[in-house]
Symmetry: C2
Subunit: 404 residues, 2 copies
């Protein structure tokens, strides 16, 4: 075997292929109700002051602070301002206006007395005709008044560019009357699986297997903030694969394939991609050695080996980071953990063992290293990163782990 | 004011109301392609052995280990087994069969020699007629053979109950031929906002505001693993609110309302819920003091105050945990952080300030305590939990923070 490429070098090649997708994202405008989790394509500024108008912070009475300097004091109730009251009201000096939380503070009033500090001495709550209210606590000008623009001013940034929209951002946008927001379009990713042995529906004959990679890659793509544009499968006939590849390229920003790139006799992806200028290589890793990349009609193609474990590990090592970056999602940094049992490795290959984190920072391998152990991999929650030079690691060794 | 209920007590009341929803979840069966992130309603056992059949781990030659005891040795190539080959093949003793990764190991063969350890001395890769292969390295019985059932055996658990389905689980299920999976049905949650001042589309007149709570609560519900069954708004007319409430109850597992439960004069939720047995109360917290709960026709109703910040904080404090639990999602435990500046609080009320985590475990308040600061809240990523008895906390104090 010729010298294999390092994981770091191949990861760099894939990342650079995907960089333009993140640097010049397509933008789409979506209604707020569909914007949860999307990433803003630009900063969003407020076109209004918030609050929109000077309003009451409490249920109570709007007064002139000067009129309640000495308490207790009895004031005529000259009207009522419920929330949602739309006609401007002016306070007659020396009187009080009943007001509800959020209602506009009348012209001439400069303080709100909370209802708890008042009592009607004439009239009733449900009949304010001729009512008189006793104010029992004085308030200074401005108290319990929310000034217009005290939350945000017209022209201020409500949400910066690159924000992953959470409920609180949507609330702020909605409060400012924003109905739709420009967000990064999700990358359209095609998932193509290959292999004459694959059965995508129905029952496998002897020698055939169920396709696990189509569903796994589609889910991984979705988790990384992209959408699956095409999901298709072909047997090992180059013409059949070329057809699904060409279809995928026409409708996608990125194409992922699984299978058909190692050194066997029926390597359909290799056969079709090589004449189109693909870089078919061997990476010093386990699982996942055979890897390939190509750019066809401007669309990057990333080709993974077909063993289900190899495919999933390859995605985690090479594509997850660049896809998340292109989607504007934060990276998922590695953690450190302590091996709870010894592991063996193959020197010259960086090994990604499937592991499970336990209490207090321990991690145990949950399956053998073989890349066909797809059911065992379901028990894992991390990949244990065994350095390329290691032949074995003792129990108690500190290792890097990557969340799955 | 009568003695307010503690946050802990009210949280307990809400949690107990929602417990039956989590204990006896409805179950639905969804295709694997729609199952990402869903939570299994029971364990899923494999109906097959995986691998389905004994197959080759490498591209190479299937042989009898006994025939390659002494190397190099030349063996006639008696046939070819590509992946996906569906007719059973038997190895003639003393010969080799070319075999691809994943292809069924022929009857009579007990080892695979990787292609790297071989060379054709007669014939060509694309014409094996009369070919002879030289085997350069001996292998013992079982090498590079994946035994049937070595990953999982028929009847073994593929995915335990209560698993939030990640790509790796879907891969395992797909590999075992599972096409659909029983998952917890998402809770159907109605979001009702109230207030004559609310504008849900178009432009507000003087005194009106855009409804921020509808979008915020809908997004919070979705984030907590439920679906929004109804989103509606009413003014402060009790008849109008009763109509949207009754509609919501008929089609939902839970109803959330905002607004209309404090002590003002136009408290529509309070007016409609009280005669139906609601518990309308005041909780010793800020923001979010007025709170109510009811059970109507067996459907829990949780009523929050209407200030946008109060509504969002109330959801985080009272509903997020129980909804996530009912959905089978893990809790979001609080963290500890260090205040980077002093804060003041109101003794007798547990205060939830909006804060932003910084480098190295510091947290700073990002807005004043007032519950109308909905735009400022968008800058926060945590709630700073100021204990009920505190009047002020110095910079450097350790506080509990809750992720928003």
């Amino acid at each position: 075997m010729t010298t294999a490429r390092s994981v770091e070098e191949h990861a760099g090649i894939v990342a650079r292929m995907l960089e333009p997708l993140g640097d010049e994202p397509s933008v789409e405008t979506v209604p707020l109700a569909e914007a949860l989790g999307r990433v803003t394509a630009g900063e969003v500024r407020s076109e209004v002051d918030l609050p929109l108008f000077r309003n009451s912070q409490m249920d109570g009475y709007a007064v002139r602070a000067a009129d309640i300097h000495a308490v207790p004091v009895a004031l005529e109730v000259s009207g009522d301002i419920p929330a949602g009251h739309t006609s401007p009201v002016t306070l007659i000096a020396g009187t009080a206006l009943r007001i509800m939380t959020g209602a506009p503070v009348p012209t001439g009033a400069d303080a709100i007395v909370p209802v708890e500090d008042t009592g009607l001495i004439l009239g009733r709550d449900d009949d304010l005709e001729g009512a008189v209210v006793e104010i029992r606590r004085s308030r200074t000008a401005g108290e319990y008044v929310r000034e217009r623009g005290s939350d945000v001013r017209r022209g201020d940034v409500l949400v910066p560019e690159g924000t992953r929209l959470a409920p609180r951002h949507l609330a702020a946008l909605a409060a400012a009357g924003v109905e739709a927001v420009a967000v990064r379009a999700r990358l359209r990713v095609a998932v193509l699986t290959t292999g004459s042995e694959l059965v995508t529906s129905g029952s496998p004959a002897h020698g055939q297997v169920f396709d696990a990679n189509g569903i796994a890659l589609a889910a991984l793509v979705e988790e990384a903030g992209a959408v699956v544009s095409v999901r298709a499968s072909s047997d090992d006939d180059p013409g059949a694969f070329a057809r699904i590849l060409d279809d995928a390229i026409r409708s996608s920003d990125l194409v992922i394939t699984s299978g058909g790139i190692s050194k066997g006799a029926y390597e359909v992806v290799r056969e079709v991609l090589l004449p189109r200028g693909a870089d078919v290589t061997s990476v010093a890793m386990q699982p996942g050695g055979p890897q390939a990349t190509a750019v066809i009609d401007g669309v990057p193609v990333v080709a993974f080996p077909g063993n289900p474990v190899s495919t999933q590990v390859s995605f985690a090592v090479f594509l997850r980071g660049p896809l998340r970056a292109a989607a504007g999602l934060p990276p998922l940094p590695p953690q450190r953990a302590t091996l709870t049992e010894a592991v063996r490795s193959v020197p010259g290959r960086r090994q990604f063992l499937r592991g499970r984190l336990g209490e207090s920072g321990g991690v145990a391998p949950v399956a053998g290293p073989s890349s066909h152990l797809v059911a065992a991999m379901a028990k894992a929650d991390v990949l244990i990163d065994v350095p390329v030079e290691a032949e074995a690691l003792d129990a108690g060794s500190a290792v890097t782990v990557w969340t799955l």
